[in-house]
Amino acid sequence: MEKKYWCVGQNFRKDGKEKVKGETKYAGDIFLPDMLFAKPLLAPVSHGRLKTIDTSLAKSLPGVVAVVTAEDIKGSNRFGPVMQDQPVLVGVGEDFKFLGDTLALVAAENKKIAEEAIRLIKVDYEELPGLYNFNEALADGAFRLHQNMEKNICSSGEIVIGDITSGFNESDIILEEIIQTPRQEHAYLETEAAVSFFDNQGRVNLYSCLQDPYYFNYDIAQALGLPANRIRTVATTAGGAFGGKDDITLQAHAILLTLVTGRPVKMVYSREESILIHPKRHPSEIRIKIGATKNGRITAFEGRVLIDAGAYTGRSPVVLTVALNSFVGPYYIPHIKLYGHAVYTNNLVAGACRGYGQPQSNTARELVLDMLADRLNINPVTLRKINALKQGQQAGTRLVNLDTPPTLDSLLDQTMAVLEKSPHDDTPAYCKRGTGVACAMPLFDISALPSLGLAGTGVAIQMHPDGSLVVYASAVECGQGVISVLAQIAAEEFSVNPGDVEVILADTDSTPKSGPTTASRQTYTSGNALKIASEHLKKRLISFGSRLLNVAEEKLYFYGGKMLVKDGEGEVPLSKLAKECYYAGVNLKEEAWFRSNHATIGHTFIATAADVEVDTLTGSVKVLKLVTAHDIGKAINPLAAAGQIIGGGMQSLGWAMTEDLMQKDGMVVTPSLAEYLIPTALDLPAMETILMENPYPTGPYGAKGVGEHASMTAAAAILNAIYQATGKMVTNFPATPEKVFNLVTGIPESS
């Protein structure tokens, strides 16, 4: 029988009312008395040596309060989550390595003066040759972008299971393909913004949209030469993040300017600055060699992943690790050999972007599976079912333990059942219609990977003397709904109204370290930590309550804002119980720590089916329908969960169809939202989302992660649908009309 919950499983949006009223304060909405406005001076070209920088003219402009260069930095002037190799400001005599490097900063009385002063800074530099693609960067004799590295290889990885040679020997057919995936821009509507100021104790306070307050606090402190406890970092409600706000950008700059001027400083990136500076989804080149028997059993999978890290290390080593560990996905393949490299170039820095390497490797694999199905003359759905992982089998990564029965077959059936209901009668004669599928086994809470080991999660809960509850967590609300989910979990545990629970998020002065709000992890990790903390607090309340009511502890339970006695022998409202505790000196705050099992990480299953119409006269493709079925374990908030799948699906549709942050010789060809095209409402296909509930043993109420997962299947399902419609695979998406037209008509792309 299904467990009955108090409020888990209901739709609730704690931050909804303030958002529809426009009352939510994002970082850029903060105005402080005496506040300065700051602007950055960015690198003039993609690669060069800074010879001199003359700020005297800029400093003399009335209204300019400070012009700051690397000389003004007292710390290491370097930051980075894995290797601290990225400069806060590039110094004289140093090289700038990409267009997003910052050379100087201006703080002025208003925006206009700051912009004018930036133009008055004189920079003398020597332009250097650049590395703009894998071939250039990996060529013998290529110059090294980082002198401490032997080659331009940022990191490498390898996974071998079974014996790849015998795997290919057992196969009847071998297919080799190369898939290229484009650089994706997050394009959150809120560009990066930060406000910094001194508090009464002379500490710098930072309010900014960012995804991990403790990481930012620590890394900025050492880069600027401050003890971490002299900075307070508050993550404001983010206007979208998707991984793009997981890394330091203007936050160190705002703090530096407050240190230099003593005044509050606000810095907000223009859209063009945002596009140049924050890390992108890695462009990749993925080579797959796959072997199968005539009846569709895949025996061998050899894959190489190259990802373009851009100019600095950033998160590339971890993104590569995750790309490789999700490469084989939800299938059982006995012999695998996976390897890859993250490669330094002078292109834009790449980093976290919804899926963290999984969309690239999963999409490539799913495209090749459809091409294999075609060669084998087997239905693509059947091929996937033949090879779907079964419990007890070894996944293509040693990081996953199949602790619940895999659900891929059922998810595929559910998506296809919906798609088959679509009418097929109104396709014009010059159009071709096709349906495609794609599957994945998304990993979540990957920051618990043994190789990372960083991301345990603390959450605290406090009951005030009137019985009202406050949750303290360092998760960040970036639209996904974590503030609502945490309120629901506390409300579930104490049986109170979720609207009455306050949730304080992401403030290094008051909330415990929670690790990053990334990797589809916060419902799982903060949710678990909050449950543990709540259990401890409830235990103490029950112990006190049993003395107060003079009944055995086992008879007490919480319901509807009260502590009740089983069999109706008495009750006490939480307001009275908490007040009695207050006067008796009983601690009513509890903090708990959750860190998922070290040996394995969370995983789930997802299947997406797409229906497309290809106009053979123009090459334009219309996505008619997108159906996704996701094994969510338990949906704590079904509307928010569906919103993640739909929104993630549309981001992935954009990646498949139009989005390519193109660079040519380091310059950005699509520098604004007029050239870099994300989906509009006109691109919206009919959407259906199926949430399959299959409780996860270690999840709170059985919940799994969901945030990133649709980005691992939607693009592949769409591209496979184009393949099914036309017989041509777009192996270097996005599938622009020009590319599709050329493929359909057989015209080579270069002509």
Binding site: R13, V20, G22, E190, G239, R271, G643, G647, M650
Partner: protein
């Protein structure tokens, strides 16, 4: 600096503006009506949408001086105190709000749409909000919210 008189959310204002100051900057920086958002400052994203004399406009493209004697509605003027406007209620009920950054502009575009066309088709809704980018929701739940309002008084 030039003197400018206009009405915002039913209140009369007199402000001094620079000739190149946009309506967006004036609303946010002088009147501190920060519910109107800046996403691109070039008319590409729609986050700064307000209603000016009954029409939805990108306030980042409107010189403040062009709003002389105009009637402006921003998100702050839509609800009556604690009582939400039906469009705001519909957005919450349909799950049309995630990060919330596009929400004020999106809601005002929907208002302008429904004021002119109380029963829009799905295609008309998609067209009506196509100037407002949203990166979180994928638009589906926004379209559902607007559909739920079709024919109702807003």
């Amino acid at each position: 600096m030039e003197k400018l008189e206009l009405t915002v959310n039913g209140y009369h204002y007199q402000v001094q503006v620079e000739p190149d100051e946009t309506l967006l900057d004036m609303l946010r920086e002088q009147l501190k009506l920060t519910g109107t958002k800046s996403g691109c400052n070039k008319g590409e994203c729609g986050a700064c949408t307000v209603i000016m004399n009954g029409m939805a406009v990108n306030s980042c493209l409107v010189p403040a001086l062009q709003a002389r004697h105009a009637e402006i509605l921003t998100i702050e003027g839509l609800s009556k105190g604690e009582e939400l406007h039906p469009i705001q209620e519909a957005f919450l009920a349909s799950g049309a709000v995630q990060c919330g950054y596009c929400t004020p502009g999106m809601i005002l575009s929907v208002k302008a749409l429904l004021d002119n066309n109380p029963k829009p088709t799905v295609a008309e809704i998609q067209e009506g909000i196509s100037g407002n980018l949203c990166r979180c929701t994928g638009y589906e739940q926004i379209v559902q919210a607007v559909q739920s309002l079709a024919g109702k008084k807003v």
